[in-house]
Symmetry: C2
Subunit: 392 residues, 2 copies
């Protein structure tokens, strides 16, 4: 055969910082990161894309950013901030993608300049995608402002927007230039968003780290009561587990296996079927509960462990079922999620289940009858738990 | 500082095949490539996106493809072929991108399946981009059908579409899964497209390979006369130089240097200003001529070498100037191309010039007065050459 062989490797690296008061004049971190990347004879630009809820909750932020970068020797701040609607709408409605791309064009942001996203996972996914496709990839800096995005989505290598309601149908793998996790942002989250971010921590603990799972059980109450140092630990440990997983494995997911998507096949579909009324973390909580009970019914996981997991989620104030999750027939719409999940990952269907707490187990088929039983059990679980909490 | 460090490498590889009659039942190459990538228990899909000029010139192709994949054990052919307008319009008009994405969605093409682009560089850039952003990257197979795409764009790692007339404003770096260069497609090119692909060969020879440049001089006439074996050699050598350059250097262009863009700063702008009436390869020819004469005026390249280059281009039937290239003032629209070029590459302006035939030399600023002189010289060159050819 007559051919030329191409072969090369590309190196990626970035840091995930943990800090507070990122834009305080006394906090040098951001500036130091820019300094390290400075190029002689060339002044980079920096453009901010911000979640509208952050603007509402932190009305001084705009000015703080202006002050922080005033007279900066490494970057030239674009004064105009691009405000996008927070939440899934930013990924669902094409106007927000267009808005960011248009700002890149108008402000002549180049590939060596920076786009900074400040917001929840949705706004970061949008910003990361816009940056990734502009000029074949502008550097993106993420400043996650929700529990979920600080411990999970914000520290990884993926971005995306939805297409015709399909989650993340459009997206790329594009490592960030840097991530800044600033605890202060989390203080304005409402309880629902606060809690929903915890489910990804339960997920990663279940798959990877029994000790961390134990810690979560021990600190469930502190976490629900918004204890700061507990949440800081949760975020850091969870981010570490994610970063290790990505760097140590198959970062751009050339294979079909995606262990961190434990509980996600039903979660993504539920989000979509509920028109995104159910938050990602809430849906993941239900998905974890479902697949844990299924793991037990399938004889993989001891039943008492599955029950423990569901109780922990309930203790965290997370939902474990929903009327759209009453899987009472084989053609239930949630089951379409299996096919979409396979399609999105590609290749053979690969679903992560649990063997032990802290140890996952991959399968390539699910028994839908058993899955319906698991869903049924969860409904009962929910009712008996409601009774329990009424007693307290 | 409190941070987590992420670091990883991602490996890429692909082959560029040279063949004829790719879809003949006697040609096993395509099938062998699919066989190597086969996964047990899972049948991949294969979706074709085809340049409408190819459909016109090869009316049997559709059926040939159907026959080639009938009963194939590795892939399931999507019968519907996605036909897109050939030429720059496919990158300029958003409806074609939408058409490909929609086909991916409707046919449920996943990340382990294949999208095959058959066409010129424009259709391949569009197809590659659509594949790269769908499900965070579907495997793309390129079947380039022009001289330019077989020797240059089709063998590299870039894709893209235009945005508000700006060339490749949206795009990604995404190595193909495989490339099949089938000589047969080139036989139906009109002379303009045939010749315009030759300019990229002159370019890469000038920057990298004096011997190849010499070969081009010796075979100029054969090439213009569409001698098959000369063109085969040109394409293979040029593809080799590209593949080596990409694999050996900075494949995803994290730096600001892009040696293979010799002659391109003005070329991209000219294409745009002419509403893409000027073909990419024609514009590159003019850009090479301009930057070669400039290199001489700037004292880098011997004048006789610059003249030799211009004469070679003219001998190849390529244009060396255009009314839009009469750079008679410092605010000439072509000069805006410098800024857009810098912006697209990012960082400090970096322009490749020539020191010798076969040896490039990078600079970070241009003297616009000298550039105007170079443009002026080219106009005269063109006239005297026209006289010369009238004499023959
Ligand atoms: N890229 C990845 O790897 C990855 C991984 C997991 C999840 N995700 C995606 O992340 C998204 C969910 O992200 P999320 O859970 O962060 O929710 P979100 O971004 O949808 O935000 C939830 C709500 O909180 C608001 N908000 C954000 N920060 C706030 C703050 N500090 N105070 C008050 N309100 C605030 C937002 O405006 C929004 O209304 C989903 O689209 C999910 O698919 C991506
Ligand atoms: N991705 C990269 O790295 C890269 C590099 C260089 C150029 N490019 C891009 O490639 C594009 C130019 O590609 P091109 O020169 O191949 O031209 P093209 O794709 O624009 O095609 C030119 C014309 O030839 C027709 N055509 C294609 N194959 C034919 C055939 N076999 N017979 C008859 N007609 C045929 C097309 O329909 C079109 O009308 C530009 O958009 C340029 O920016 C990309
Ligand atoms: Zn998740
Ligand atoms: Zn080119």
């Amino acid at each position: 055969m007559n051919y030329i062989q191409q072969r090369f490797k590309v190196s990626f690296e970035y840091k995930v910082f943990f800090t507070e008061g990122l834009f305080s004049s006394r906090n040098p971190i951001f500036n130091e990161v820019l300094k390290e990347d400075h190029q002689e004879n060339y002044s980079k630009k920096i453009l901010f894309v911000i979640d509208d809820k952050i603007i509402q909750h932190f009305p001084d932020l705009d000015k703080q950013i202006d002050d922080y970068f005033a007279g900066n020797e490494y970057v030239q701040l674009i004064k105009e901030k691009i405000i996008v609607a927070g939440g899934e709408i930013s990924k669902n409605d094409g106007q927000y993608l267009e808005k960011v791309i248009d700002a890149v064009n108008r402000n002549r942001i180049d590939r060596h300049s920076y786009i900074v996203g400040i917001g929840g996972g949705s706004v970061l996914d949008l910003t990361g995608y816009a940056a990734a496709i502009s000029h074949r990839g502008i550097k993106v800096i993420r400043i996650p402002t929700t529990v979920l995005s600080q411990n999970d989505s914000g520290v990884g290598v993926k971005n995306g927007v939805n297409y015709k309601g399909k989650k993340n149908f459009l997206g790329t793998f594009a490592p960030p230039f840097a991530v800044f996790n600033d605890y202060e942002f989390l203080t304005t989250l409402d309880d629902r968003d606060w809690r929903s971010g915890i489910s990804e921590a339960v997920k990663v603990a279940l798959i990877k780290d029994e000790g961390f799972y134990q810690w979560l059980e021990d600190h469930a109450e502190d976490l629900v009561n918004r204890d700061k140092s507990s949440m800081e630990y949760l975020i850091k440990r969870c981010a570490e587990l994610h970063v290790e997983h990505i760097g140590g494995g198959d970062p751009f997911e050339f294979g079909s296996s995606r262990p961190l998507d434990f509980g996600h096949w039903s979660a993504h579909k539920l989000e979509q079927l509920s028109n995104f009324d159910v938050l990602h973390g809430e849906a993941v909580s239900m998905g974890i509960a479902l697949d844990s009970l299924y793991s037990a019914l399938a004889g993989l996981l001891p039943q008492e462990d599955a029950d423990k997991i569901v109780r922990l989620l309930l203790k965290m104030g997370l939902p474990v079922t929903h009327e759209l999750m009453h899987l009472d027939r084989i053609d239930h719409p949630i089951f379409l999620g299996l096919q979409e999940f396979r399609e999105h990952l590609g290749g053979q269907l690969t679903i992560m289940l649990l063997k032990e707490i802290g140890v996952g187990y991959e399968v390539h088929a699910l028994d839908l009858e058993l899955m319906m039983q698991a869903a049924q059990k969860l409904q009962n679980f929910n009712q008996s738990d409601l009774k329990l909490s009424a007693q307290c």
